[in-house]
Structure formats: C-alpha cells, structure tokens
Subunit: 209 residues, 2 copies
DNA sequence: GGATGTCCCTAACGCGTTAAGGTGTCAAGC
DNA sequence: GCTTGACACCTTAACGCGTTAGGGACATCC
C-alpha cells in the first residue's frame, strides 16, 4: 500500500497532537508510516512544505465561517470574529501557531485565502487597495504571532520566580495579570487596538480623500 | 589565548554580516576561533543563547536614544521613533530581525529594557499597568515581526511571477506597492495603526474611569 | 602534591537533506 | 506475447547540523 500526501499530513498531525512539534521529525513520521525518511521527499520538497500542508489542514475548517460580512460597516466585528476563529483553530493543536508562523502562503492555501478575504473586507471598509493589504498583513501577523507567544509561554511558576528575582515595572504589571483567562483578555485587547487603529486611519483617509 | 563570551559574540556577528544566518553554524564559528564546536558550550548553554547575546549586542546601541519622552503627551512620537530605531538596528545586519524574534528576554537584556521602557511610557500615557504591558507586548511583537517579514521577502521578480500566475485581489494590491520605499511606508503604516488604536483605547479607558 | 576548577577535546546521537540507485508497474513497439 | 523503456516510489549511504557524555590538560590553591 503506497503512501500519499494526504496520509502523511494526517499521520503527522496525529503525531503532533500526541507528542508536540519538537519531537516531530521526518524519521519518526516515516517510521510511523513504515518507510524511511527520504521517502517523504518524494511527496514533499522539504519538511517546511509538509508543515505548510499541516497548517493548511488546521486552518481550512475555519474558511466556511469567514464569509464576507453582509454589511460593509460591520467589518470590525468580522475582524474580531476572524481573529478569534484563527486563534482557536491554532490553539486546537500543540504548537499549532508555530506551524502557521512562517508558513509559505503558496502552500498554506487556507492562510492565503484568509489574507485575501481580509484585504477585501478592509478595502470595502474604506482603505485603498495598497493600505488594505498593508493593514491585513499587519493584522494577521499579529493574530498568528500573538498566538505563538501564548502557546509557548513558560509556566507561570517560573515567571513568578523571575519576577521576584528582577523586580521591575514589567513584573508589577504581570502581577496584575493573574486571571485564568488573561490570555483571552490580552489577545482580544491587542485585536481591539488594531481594529480601533484601522477605524481611525480609515476616517483619516476619507477626510484627506 | 583563551576564548571569552564577548569574543565569540563579536566573531559570530562578523560572520553573520559576511554570510547570513543560514550559514552561521556552531562548527563554523568554532573553526573561525580555532576551536571545536562543543567548546562553545562552555561559554553558552545553547546556540539560542549565543544568538540571544548577538541580538543583545545589536540592540544595545539603540538604548541611549530611548530616554523617556519629557512630556508624557508625546508618547505617540516616542513610540514611532522607537519603532524606527529598533527596525533600523535590526536591518543593519542580515537576518538581524530573525535574530531578535524568539529571543529570550532574560538573555537579550536590551530587548527587555525596551519592553520595560515601553510599558512605562504607555502607563504614563494613561493605560493601566496590565493594559500597558499588553499593549507594549503587542507593539514590539509587531515591530520585530514586521521587520522579519521585510527582511526575508522573496525577490520582487518571483513575486510578480506569482502574481501573474494567481491573479487575485492580493496581487492587484501588490501591484500598487511598487515604490522603492514601500517597505518604509508599510512599516510606518502599521505603526500608525497601532498608535492610533492605543490612543483610542486610552480615551476609552479614561471615559470609563 | 593532591584537590579543585577552567577550558577544551573526541566520539557519538538524532536531525534535515541530497545523491545515487533499485524495484515494480505499465504502455509502446516488435 | 515478449521486450524495452519510462515513470512512480522507495532504498542505502553520506553530509553538516545542534547537542551531550566523558575525559584530558593545565593552572591555582591548600
């Protein structure tokens, strides 16, 4: 029974869920498939390509939920919803966000679709095409990047230890962020900054013409 | 003549400038220092630790220019200036931004100082301490991350080729971004989004109390 | 002179990746 | 019907990589 692209991706995702990204090596994936590591190079041009397809598989289920907002004026809600959706898909797998960070858009097609749709929405919201693509890139970079940070956080105990060792304004700030849902709050706070900023710049762009 | 931490960092930075991050291996650095690779583990606990110290060396010269803004109301200018300063320091070395991305703040002390100073500035600007640290993290993540993307861009020729192959709203948008200083413009555009967003949220926080 | 500690070595592990080659399948040509 | 060749799919062997274990040389201190 020959191996095919889809089987490799599904197997690798199962191993990712079981043991995390660090232990996900080509040799181990190949062994799971009763094959030697270089065989994978027949189906993927590099490990990065395999990871890109995995990221694609992780994000694709989010696409149906990202239809255009009926009303162009509701773009802020659409952005917030999109951000939450991407984040939750990435958090559904260990190191899922790292998978998407640095993914090649020509291979992670789902991510490309999301970028395109975001550009459309922001263009209809009032940005010129160039600025819409700039804002979309900044926004999605933030969403994925912020999720990576969240997912790779050191455990709270070691953070407290470090805070005690180096009492600074930063540790005082972190002391105020002990709520169990702080990650949710912080993520949405960042999203709100970006959405509010875009709103301000759209008005500015409208005023200038 | 024994090797010391500082010499390793300076040598590695020279090699980075000469040949880029991809070719910067411990074995090659060691060879340049007339030493074998494991010797470096006497001075650094991992390659990541060495890279962190390199990032520190790259960013440290920016610190004197990041004094608090005399007037707390001038925080938007301070943020914009800080962003430009960090970006220009990172662009001064090939793959300099990648070096800083994912750096451990306990080792890349300069980066930690920048975070702390940004938290202070945003706190004085009107954010509560927790929100100031959230906004600072989002902002600096954006600055470093956006600079990574800029520094690792595929060459324009291959981008145009891909745009022709897949005519989408994204390629139409990129067609409007051919100015030679588009990277500067796009970076500052992202910074303006974040600054405008923070301004809006500070007013909101003030209104609520 | 023995103990301690600093600084480096050799050997080896699993890693991603490449080069070269082998096996099986299947259509084309005699 | 048999052979030839092409192609799909996988192998073994090897490269340099980051990293670890274990040990050796040399200085410093009691």
């Amino acid at each position: 029974m020959a191996i095919d692209k889809d089987l490799v991706v599904r197997t690798a995702l199962r191993m990712l869920d079981r043991e995390g990204l660090e232990r996900l090596s080509l040799r181990r994936i190949a062994a799971e498939l009763d094959v030697k590591a270089p065989a994978l190079y027949w189906h993927f041009e590099s490990k990065r390509a395999l990871l890109d397809h995995m990221a694609d598989a992780v994000l694709t289920p989010a696409l149906p939920d990202l239809e255009d907002p009926g009303d162009a004026a509701r773009w802020p809600d659409w952005l917030a919803h999109t951000a939450d959706l991407i984040r939750s898909r990435l958090l559904a797998h260990p190191d899922g966000a790292q998978l998407a960070l640095g993914a090649d858009l020509t291979r992670a097609t789902a991510l490309l679709r999301i970028v395109e749709r975001t550009v459309e929405v922001l263009h209809h919201a009032g940005f010129g095409l160039a600025d819409a693509s700039r804002a979309a890139a900044s926004f999605l970079w933030f969403v994925v990047g912020r999720t990576v940070e969240e997912q790779t956080l050191p455990d709270p105990a070691s953070m407290r230890r470090q805070a005690r060792a180096n009492p600074s304004i930063l540790s005082r700030a972190m002391a105020e962020r002990t709520a169990p849902d702080d990650q949710d709050v912080s993520f949405r706070f960042g999203v709100r900054i970006m959405v509010a900023g875009m709103r301000a710049l759209i008005e500015e762009e409208r005023a200038v013409g």
